[in-house]
């Protein structure tokens, strides 16, 4: 690993120009569920990892293999390829800026558009059968493409906090295009239903063909398996002003 950088990526993906999807643990674990679903359902290859600052020594053991908790996968679906940033642990609040900068640098290295997916807290989520996806980007062209899928609505007013906010704020400075796509979600419970809508949206946006039915069928089982990660993520989110995402931006008289 380069001493100045907090990530290591396989040389073969440098300059590849494939989209980079970020789905680190956040509201309702929507991004985590969606990205892990793509990783398991597409032909996926581990192509790098990201070191999260201030994270105590943790390794993930999977099938007797020792892995970094935050990893980068290259996923193939026929001719379409995407990269996924995935983490088994939440990013500590104090490490959000440095982690976002590392993701943006990876985006620069791969020559990617970053698509950051997650949930936006919706107090009436139980009343909503089909969650809406709200999109916002620092690039008009990407925003237009996202809206043309017919599966998203423009995020017009409000606040975004945490990793998504850090990516959007620093993206333009580094010349990286970022699209943030947020599905209406439970805040403190894993929300596979919202993640399924994100999968449908990404399928359409990126020309992928991943069936969403198994995700919907296994939703209850998934919620049980993810409760520990959700509990840790909720504890971590308590130190980010997530309540702001429920508020409207101040309106001033012109």
């Amino acid at each position: 690993m380069n001493k100045d950088k907090n990530f290591l990526i396989d040389g073969k993906i440098k300059g590849k120009g494939v989209p980079l999807i970020e789905g680190l643990p956040d509201v309702g674990l929507v991004g985590t569920i969606a990205s892990s679903y793509f990783i398991s359902n597409l032909q996926s290859e581990l192509v790098g990892y990201l070191e999260i600052e201030d994270l105590p020594p943790i390794v993930t053991i999977q099938g007797s293999k020792v892995l970094e908790p935050c990893r980068l996968y290259l996923c193939r679906d026929g001719p379409n390829e995407t990269c996924m940033v995935f983490s088994d642990v939440p990013v500590p609040p104090q490490s959000i800026w440095s982690t976002a900068n590392s993701i943006l640098e990876i985006g620069q290295t791969i020559n990617s558009t970053i698509i950051s997916v997650g949930g936006i807290p919706e107090p009436n989520r139980l009343e909503i059968e089909k969650p809406e996806i709200y999109v916002v980007s620092n690039d008009e062209e990407i925003q237009r493409k996202a809206l043309e899928t017919g599966y998203s609505t423009q995020f017009e007013n409000g606040f975004i906090t945490g990793m998504k906010a850090a990516l959007l704020r620093n993206a333009s400075r580094l010349g990286v295009k970022v699209l943030v796509a947020l599905a209406q979600s439970h805040m403190n419970y894993p929300d596979p239903g919202a993640a399924a809508e994100v999968v449908v949206f990404l399928n359409k946006l990126l020309g992928l063909n991943v069936s969403v039915d198994p995700l919907r069928e296994q939703a209850e089982k998934l919620k049980i398996q993810l409760r520990d990660l959700m509990r840790r993520t909720t504890a971590s989110m308590a130190r980010i002003p997530k309540g702001l995402e429920l508020e409207a931006t101040p309106q001033y008289i012109r």
């Binding site: 139980l126 419970y189 239903g193 209850e220 919620k223 049980i224 409760r227 520990d228 509990r231 130190r239």
Partner: protein, 138 residues
């Protein structure tokens, strides 16, 4: 020579203390789940002027099997889970039920409590026993 602590050093120390406290709580919770083989469900409590709204996430549970009891200022939820949850340990321990014992800050009205169960989430509306009085403004 010892450097004087800056404000940032103090904030970092507080953050570190909070992290340790959270870690301690999560570890105790996990130990209790492993020993009792019963899971504490994820839950959320919202307080309104006249009532508390509690939601409890109970994936893998059938509505008919949920046992809900309200007593004084306590709420008890028990439900068997139809999935075997593998507690993530190097050795396998399966838990097959949920149990939540919650203490609310003031006395609640058990008779007027209403609950519904949708998509694995139990939503309970519990009126407060002592309700506020509306004051006429002159």
């Amino acid at each position: 020579m010892r450097r004087r602590k800056s404000l940032f050093d103090i904030i970092r120390e507080i953050e570190s203390d909070i992290d340790q406290e959270i870690e301690w709580m999560l570890t105790r919770l996990k130990e209790s789940e492993v020993s009792s083989r019963c899971l504490e469900p994820l839950y959320d409590v919202q307080e309104f002027p006249d009532e508390f709204r509690v939601t409890v996430d109970l994936p893998g549970v059938e509505k008919e099997n949920v046992k809900l009891e309200v007593h004084k200022n306590e709420l008890h939820v028990y439900a068997p889970c139809s999935y075997e949850y593998e507690l993530r340990r190097y050795c396998r321990v399966n838990a097959t039920c949920y149990k939540l014992d919650l203490e609310l800050p003031i006395e609640i009205s058990a008779e007027e409590t209403k609950a519904k169960f949708r998509e694995g989430v139990l939503e309970i509306r519990i009126p407060k026993k002592e309700k506020g009085v509306r004051i006429k403004i002159d």
